[in-house]
């Protein structure tokens, strides 16, 4: 029996990083879709595709991804999500990680990160689900 490839949604506003993450995941045969802002993330999440994992950049432009992760947590309870962030001038990473934890994130990854660190967190999240 052939199993379907695992499907991952990347929600990241930085084009270069988004491309890099797609490359990382595609090289290991994940089916990857992307969104670059809150509105596109909502469209992707609720367009009928069954994702196995979401990777969510905490800061999407000047707004947080809290509305996105709240909808995942509330309406897609079987979809684990990883929050990634490098922080910004407003919110340090200790606080960002606490917000991610309290919002139900399965993991938090501090930017910048290596491919191996990223893939390790992705693998652990998928295994946990």
């Amino acid at each position: 029996m052939v199993s379907r490839p695992r499907s991952i949604l990347i929600i990241e506003d930085d084009l270069d990083l988004r491309r890099l993450l797609v490359k990382f995941l595609a090289s290991e045969d994940y089916d990857v879709r992307v969104a670059d802002n809150v509105a596109n993330a909502m469209t992707e999440l609720f367009n009928g595709v069954r994702f196995d994992l979401a990777i969510v950049d905490f800061w999407l432009g000047s707004e947080t991804a809290v509305s996105v992760i709240d909808r995942i947590y509330g309406e897609l309870p079987n979809l684990p999500f990883i929050v990634i962030s490098g922080g910004n001038d407003v919110m340090d990473l200790e606080l960002t990680q606490a917000i991610a934890d309290i919002s139900g994130a399965i993991s938090f990854l501090q930017k910048p990160f290596t491919k191996s660190a990223f893939m390790k967190v992705v693998g652990a999240a998928l295994r946990a689900n």
């Binding site: 930085d14 990083l17 950049d57 800061w59 000047s62 947080t64 809290v66 990634i84 962030s85 490098g86 922080g87 910004n88 001038d89 407003v90 919110m91 340090d92 990473l93 200790e94 606080l95 990680q97 606490a98 917000i99 309290i102 919002s103 501090q110 930017k111 910048p112 290596t114 660190a117």
Partner: protein, 153 residues
């Protein structure tokens, strides 16, 4: 009239929060582990070895290097933290918890309060989590709009 919904009640809520946080760390002696040092111990417990350099710790906590260096030195003197050469950068050092550091985290003062919250009915926990998160985000917004993301984000 309900006390909820007026300034007096809101101010009292903040007084309670301030008091709870102050009382979490009961010992004010200089020999006690200070809040920043606890934050560093928690960080070292949670993060992989490649993230346990001083610069990553400072970045995570939103601090400059100097206070983190001082706190690490104190923790090392107390035998709670040890330093090693970084495997990826010869010029850098990574820090790890010693056995004593792992043991001391079992008495992390915030755990006492976390256990109290965990003992509440689930709906109270959810309401509290949502409220404290909203407050944290609103307080950060008061500090100003984000102007610059850090570190390749």
């Amino acid at each position: 009239m309900s006390p909820i919904g007026n300034d007096k009640s809101a101010i009292a809520s903040v007084v309670l929060m301030e008091r709870i946080v102050r009382d979490i760390y009961p010992s004010k002696k200089s020999s006690a582990i200070q809040p920043l040092q606890w934050s560093i111990l928690r960080y070292l417990m949670r993060m992989p070895v490649d993230r346990r350099e001083q610069r990553w710790i400072a970045n995570f906590l939103g601090l400059t290097g100097a206070p983190v260096t001082r706190a690490l030195r104190t923790l090392e003197t107390r035998g709670l933290v040890s330093q090693q050469k970084s495997e990826t950068d010869n010029r850098a050092k990574t820090f790890s918890l010693t056995d004593a550091g792992v043991a001391v985290l079992e008495s992390d003062p915030i755990l006492r309060v976390a256990r109290l919250i965990s003992s509440w009915p689930l709906e109270h926990q959810e309401l509290f989590a949502r409220s404290i998160r909203t407050l944290a985000l609103d307080c950060e917004q008061l500090n100003g709009e984000p102007t610059k993301k850090h570190s390749d984000n």
